[in-house]
Each structure stands twice: as C-alpha cells, then as structure tokens.
Subunit: 75 residues, 6 copies
C-alpha cells in the first residue's frame, strides 16, 4: 500500500450514522489496497452493465463492516 497514512485509529464513533460513514470508508480503503494501480481502477469505472448488482454487492460489504463497527460501539 503506497498510502501508509493512519486512517483507522479506532472503530469507535460518536453516533451510529458516523459508524455508517466509517463503514463506507473501510470498504473503499479495501478496494484501494487490493487494486493499487489507479490507472486500472479508472478503467473499471464505466462498467455500467452490472452496475446495480455492483451497488448491491457494495452495500453488502458496507453492511458487514458496519456490523463490526456496531459491535465495537455496542450501539
């Protein structure tokens, strides 16, 4: 990972809604960590044929990440 910045100090958030936002960040950071080549990430964008399916799959990743965050916060 080229980007070695600390972006995840803690799973604790002030509100559940901030937890949702964190879940989306976590999902996006994973994509960036797996496919590190920005050129290839750009090529992938216009795949709109399966776009709805991709959105729903992404929502599933976010749901799992949020479950982890909710447990950490005992919301």
């Amino acid at each position: 990972m080229a980007n070695s910045d600390i972006w995840l100090d803690s799973l604790i958030t002030k509100t559940p809604q901030e937890g949702r936002a964190l879940a989306i960040i976590m999902a996006r950071k994973t994509i960036g960590a797996i496919q590190t080549d920005p050129e290839k990430r750009k090529q992938m964008r216009p795949e709109y044929a399966d776009a709805t399916a991709l959105l729903i799959s992404s929502a599933q990743v976010v749901a799992i990440e949020f479950q982890t965050i909710a447990q950490a916060n005992t919301y």
Copy 2:
C-alpha cells in the same frame, strides 16, 4: 454525501418489525451514499434481466443490517 441530514440517531427500535424497516432504510441509504449521481441511479433501474437475483441480493443486505439491529436491541 450531499445529504448530511441525521437519519440514523440510534439502532434501537420499538419492535422487531420497525427494526426490519430500519434495515431496509440502511441498505437504501448505502446505495445513495455510494452512487451519489441521481442520473446514473435512474439509468440503472430498468435492468430487469437479473431482477430476481438483484432482489435476493438486496434481501441479503437487509438480513445483515437487521442482524446488527437485532443485536443492538437484544430482541
């Protein structure tokens, strides 16, 4: 996210059925947060070829969200 309104104050709901409704809202809000362009969201709608698969995938997202809500509420 253009919409910065607070929509998730708490995971606690009065009844399990309200928890189901919240799970569906959570799943929808994620879609809106990932694909923020309403024009593109509209283009995606008529993909009915895989519609049943998409519905089932959506139901899976809702099931995961609800699991989180149920744990928060110790239903």
Copy 3:
C-alpha cells in the same frame, strides 16, 4: 410498504423449526417491501435459467435471518 400489518411481533419461537419458518417469512417480506409492484414481481418469476443459483442465494438469506433468530432465542 402498502401492507402496514404487524407481522413481526417477536423473534422468539417455540422451536428451532418454527424459527426456520420465520426466517423464510422474513426473507419473503423483504422481497415484498423492496419490489412493491406485484405486476413486476410476477414478470420476474419465470427466470428459470439461473433458478438454481437464485434458490441457493435465497437459502443464504434464510441462513442469515435464522442466525439472527437463533441468537434471539439462544437455542
């Protein structure tokens, strides 16, 4: 959701098998809540090409719902 009837008072069931039945109801109710147009639901039915995949995906949703129910009941 047009149907505002209370259908989920509690996740508690008398037996694990009733919990399975509830898990299937929960999965179906989600489908009905996402795709509210009965005409469109009907159009989707005859997609038998991927039917086995769809059945297995559905079984996955049921498995997640049942996991939630089992936790609520401490079976």
Copy 4:
C-alpha cells in the same frame, strides 16, 4: 410446506461433525421450502455450466448454518 414433519427439534449435536451434517440438512430443507414443486426442482438439476459456482455458493450457505449451530453448541 407440504412436509410438516418435525425435522429440527434442536440445534444441539453430539459432535461438531454432526453439526456439519445438520448444517447441510438445514440448507437442503430451505431449498425444499422455497421451491416446493418437485418437477421444477428436477428441471434445475442439469445446470452444470455454473456447477462449480453453485457448489461454492452452497458451501457458503452451509458455513453460515454451521456458524449458527456452533454458537448454539458453544463448541
């Protein structure tokens, strides 16, 4: 469900391996409960094109069911 026999009295099993067997039964019973028409179930069988994908999806369902069983048994 035509078959109203009691098949799931308890999630408790004597050994983890019996828990695996139960997880497979639970996954199969769900398929039978969703697609109740045996004629249609038979038609679906020969879809070997995606057979590996279907097997892996099935294994995922079994993994989730087993997770529930393992929690019930505190293996």
Copy 5:
C-alpha cells in the same frame, strides 16, 4: 455421504494458522458432501473462465468457517 470417517472431532486448534487450515478443510468437505459423485466433480474442474470469481467465493466460505473456528477458540 459415503465417507463416514470422523474428520471433525473439535473446532479447537493449537494456533490460529491451524484454524485457517481447518477452515479450508471444512469448506472442501462440504463440497464433497454436496456433490458426492467424483466423476461430476472432475468435470467441473476445468471451468477456468470464472476461475478468479470462484477462488474469491471460496475464500469467502473459508472466511466464514474461520470466523466460527475463531469464536470457538476465543483467539
């Protein structure tokens, strides 16, 4: 299942890495239990078109199995 050997006495492993190995065994044993015909299992192998997708799906099954093992071991 033709093979009635005991292969899963316990979910407890000495190290997390042995837990990973067990998770892979559990996933494979499920495949063998669902598709018992070795001839058909062989036919499925050369589906390399979706091979990356299948590998990732398999990794997901392993991740779920490992989650169960980790809980049993309180790693």
Copy 6:
C-alpha cells in the same frame, strides 16, 4: 500448501488499521492455499471484464476476516 511457514501467530494487532492489513493478508493466503499452482494463478490475472465485481467480492472477504479480527481484539 507448499509454504509451511508460520504466518499467523495471532489475530491480535496493535491498531485497528493493522487489523485491516491482516485481514487482507488472510484473504490472500487463502487464495494461495486453494490455488497452489502459480502458473494458473498467473493465467487468471487478466480477467478484467468482471474486475469491479471481483474487487467488491474481495472486499467482502476482507470485511468478514476483519470482523473476526475485531472480535479477537475487542476493538
């Protein structure tokens, strides 16, 4: 698995972000353990048609692995 090195001594990490990195390693090690032939792994790489879907699927595996790590660490 040709590589019998110990790579997973513990699920405990100093920070949640290190937990994320471990989750990605765990997902990758599983791929290497299932498809042990490096030649075949290389052939799979250029499947960019479904690349976005594959990335999202991978993110899902990472999310599940991280959930396990977060539980072990009680983040």
